[in-house]
Symmetry: C2
Subunit: 101 residues, 2 copies
DNA sequence: AAATGTTTTGACTAATCATGTCAAAAATAT
DNA sequence: ATATTTTTGACATGATTAGTCAAAACATTT
């Protein structure tokens, strides 16, 4: 239910790691990680996967945080936000039912 | 509950208008409109608003189709699609409750 | 079946946005 | 006060998006 940024900041602070260290693991500048943690930048999918590895948490949980963040961002301040989300659900369910691998 | 593309193609064909005519109204090449109707391109918000005007239908209905299409597109083929949509709903509801204009 | 009208396709271009670096400023801890 | 860490913002670069254009494919008439 949390944002990706808040989540990983908590994890990082629990372990008392500086941005520098985690950023090095992700192979990006600490500035970006700082922005990701505060919700000013979106992480890439690869970064999310790496973060789950790094902090040893369930990848899909972190992906849900990340993807839902992106969806909220895409919605912006549209009045029809909630309705669009409901319709999107229907569409996803429907396309899932007819997906061939 | 429909896709934007399908919806406006139906409307256009009911009125027996060529792509050319509607595209001219939107001030884009007919090629793009063709692609929008077949879901190969996303319309811009402005185009959606103009289309609602043009076909004289409720703007918010068309915006819901358009935005939900975009959300589905953004989700791609993520496994966590449905869960992310639910979480996004929660986040939107929450941010709405604390929104100041 | 030729001619005309419509739609689709794909190569290309321009503009916008995403992702990142870097260095300095601001904040925090020693 | 010095060190360390975090934040900020200007900038570079690459990817994506939105568009044009012309030709090919498809439908209709005549």
């Amino acid at each position: 239910m949390d944002n990706l940024g808040e989540t990983i900041r908590k994890l990082r602070e629990e372990k008392e790691l500086p941005l520098r260290t985690v950023a090095a693991y992700l192979d990006i500048d600490q500035a970006i990680l700082s922005k990701i943690e505060r919700g000013q930048r979106n992480a890439t999918r690869e970064q999310v996967v790496k973060l789950a590895m790094y902090f040893n948490i369930k990848e899909s949980d972190l992906l849900v945080s990340w993807l839902s963040d992106k969806l909220v961002y895409e919605i912006g301040d549209e009045q029809v936000a909630l309705e669009a989300l409901l319709v999107a659900e229907e569409k996803v369910k429907h396309q899932k039912s007819k997906s061939k691998k």
